[in-house]
Amino acid sequence: IIGGQPGNSPWTVSIRNRAGVHFCGGSLVKEQWVISTRQCFFSCDADLTGYEVQLGTLFKDPGPGDPDKQTIPIVQIVCGPSESQLVMLKLVRPATLNRRVALICLPPERYVVPAGTVCEIAGWGETRGTCCGPGTPTLGSPWKLVPWGDTSLWVPQGDYGGPLACLTADCWVLEGVITPSRICARTDQPALFIRVSLYVDWIHKVIKM
């Protein structure tokens, strides 16, 4: 994510490997369920022992004593319909919701976000070597959603799987998931997200079953 500023995106989670290294983002849609993208994981049968999500912090590598940090191991990966490129991650226990950790809403099935809606993306992806300059990657970056227009989003490493959240009826709704695209986004190229509203029935079914 280029530009933007530190923000509070309490549904955005950091997905970490066995070495505790952040490698992708995700969104908390239920206390025990996170949504991310299939491209972040080796296989639908991946053994995720040692993998975990980190919630409730602003900084990618918060201090050990960060009062709001929650770290929860992942117990299972469930792949979405083949063309969705989505996965759901089941946490070993529910996250505790508070001012730093909240659920994001799911859109109605097959909902299309009206143009002009205020949206934002969030993540701890590396911004090294970009216009934002050095410094600890922090969370958050409000952007205005423009249809097929002059977006200039470049989604570098580590933001994949994170949320495109849009403000609808005074609530933030997960309308997109950041996914690796053909090339880095440029001014003449729209950013690409997975349209979550197409897969909401699958998401509810996984949670229910």
């Binding site: 909240a102 659920l103 809403c105 859109p107 609530c171 996914t179 690796p180 053909r182």
Partner: protein, 459 residues
């Protein structure tokens, strides 16, 4: 750490009927399958046992399916465990433990009965309960290094080897041995294999129920994960798994129905030249180890055609794929390759959401067998023929009783995966988007709210 069950070959839901049963089998005893195996292994007369999983009762038997006047029959309450030595048609080491029913020599001479003294008189090897010399079967009572032998009925040939093959030679393997179903149950270092249906000494994900088509029988060497060769978990707690030594077949394997412009099934026979992923990321060469290290080295997978950086499916995934040239994306599918049209015939595609699909596909897109809709295990269904009588929930066929927009699905036999979609494609591409809902037509509860003042406040 070896289980007494290692000496046995398991036949699920099977009963061995002896007509008439003489001598009558002993009364069933209480215990686990392993306790029964222990009792049977230490009893000279016992060659097999029935195990009733529900009542935890076992019945020792002094016959096997190769004994005269017996027959196998389906019985969902029992599993039949038979001593391997009585069933295997190959030998381990010098074949001293061989108890099969081969009764001809390597030159085709019929064997003389062990208790007979003509045409060849002998007193050294007379039948006893302990030495297994029965009928006129090939045996190796004197540890002859050539393996089991017998006296012959030909007066000119006193005795001759029976030429029974070693297990590692009896069934050869092609490619990487994914289809190997032989009876080798030791690794190349001689360590005995752990049974696939046990989780000790090593816990593992390869439950036989979860992968019914991988042949994960007993503790035989298999290749369920597309490794280079068949392998097994070992009974040595200090060594999780190890390859097995199995002879390669001389004849070339029968070629898969290869395709180039499209892919069938999961695309294991795809040999086209597409070399970018569905999201347009270039593929990494298979003979390269950067940016991603991997074990799919082309020369170790001669049948998988891992040429250059073409999309391939060497491990039975759901479609052709490749390691990508982008460091942060290890693998990606090449879903942009189209499916071969002849594959999607009337039965194998569905209209609308597939709520009227009544075909007979009964596997998920990952190849896991579907759970029967009327069954209660491994998953208690929320949807069943009772709750949805009009949905044709027959057998374990893929169906769409809840009009799921992603097509026919089923509960799965994998304890960890309650349900999944099936490998059936829509007959026509569908446009799913609906006209835009007005923003005030939607409302949300207990989600999507945050303390905006935290938005401005850095730390």
């Amino acid at each position: 750490h070896r289980s007494p069950l290692n000496d046995f070959q398991r036949l699920r839901a099977t009963e061995l009927l002896a007509v008439p049963a003489e001598p009558p089998p002993p009364l069933p005893e209480q215990g686990s399958a392993e306790q029964c195996a222990q009792r049977c292994a230490t009893s000279l007369a016992c060659r097999a046992f029935h195990y009733d999983r529900q009542s935890q009762l076992c019945q020792l038997l002094s016959w096997t399916q190769h004994s005269p006047h017996v027959q196998l029959q389906k019985n969902i309450h029992y599993d039949l465990y038979q001593k391997k030595d009585y069933l295997r048609d190959c030998i381990v080491a010098d074949g001293t433990s061989y108890r099969g029913t081969r009764a001809t020599t390597e030159k085709g001479l019929r064997c003389q009965h062990w208790q007979a003294t003509t045409p060849h008189d002998h007193s050294r090897f007379l039948p006893s309960p302990r030495n297994g010399l029965e009928e006129n079967y090939c045996r190796n009572p004197d540890r002859d290094r050539r393996g089991p032998w017998c006296y012959t009925v030909n007066p000119k040939v006193r005795h001759q080897s029976c030429g029974i093959k070693k297990c590692e030679d009896a069934v050869c393997m092609t490619c990487n041995g994914e289809d190997y179903r032989g009876a080798v149950d030791h690794t190349e270092s001689g360590t005995e294999c752990q049974r696939w249906d046990l989780q000790h000494p090593h816990k593992h994900p390869f439950h036989p129920d979860k992968y019914p088509d991988k042949g994960l029988d007993d503790n035989y060497c298999r290749n369920p994960d597309s490794s280079e060769r068949p392998w097994c978990y070992t009974t040595d707690p200090g060594r999780e798994r190890e390859y097995c030594h199995i002879r390669f077949c001389k004849k070339r394997p029968r070629p898969l129905n290869l395709t180039t412009g499209c892919f069938r099934g999961k695309g294991e026979g795809y040999r086209g030249r597409v070399n970018i992923t569905v999201s347009g990321i270039p593929c990494q060469r298979w003979d390269a180890q950067t940016p991603h290290q991997h074990h799919f080295v082309p020369e170790k997978y001669p049948c998988k055609d891992l040429q250059e950086n073409f999309c391939r499916n060497p491990d039975g995934s759901e479609a052709p794929w490749c390691f990508t040239a982008r460091p942060t994306v290890r693998i990606a599918f090449c879903f942009q390759i189209r499916r071969c049209p002849d594959e999607l015939d009337a039965q194998e595609c569905y209209h609308d959401h597939g709520e009227r699909y009544h075909g007979h596909i009964s596997k998920t897109r990952k190849g896991i067998t579907c759970q029967p809709w009327a069954a209660q295990a491994p998953h208690v269904p929320q949807i069943s023929p009772v709750t949805h009588p009009e949905a044709h929930l027959e057998e374990n066929y893929c169906r769409n009783p809840d009009n799921d927009s992603h097509g026919p699905w089923c509960y799965t036999m994998d304890p960890r995966t309650p349900f999944d979609y099936c490998a059936i494609k829509p007959c026509l591409a569908q446009s799913w988007l609906m006209p835009m809902l007005l923003a005030d037509a939607v409302a949300f509860e207990q989600c999507g709210r945050r303390e905006e003042r935290l938005q401005q406040k850095g730390r």
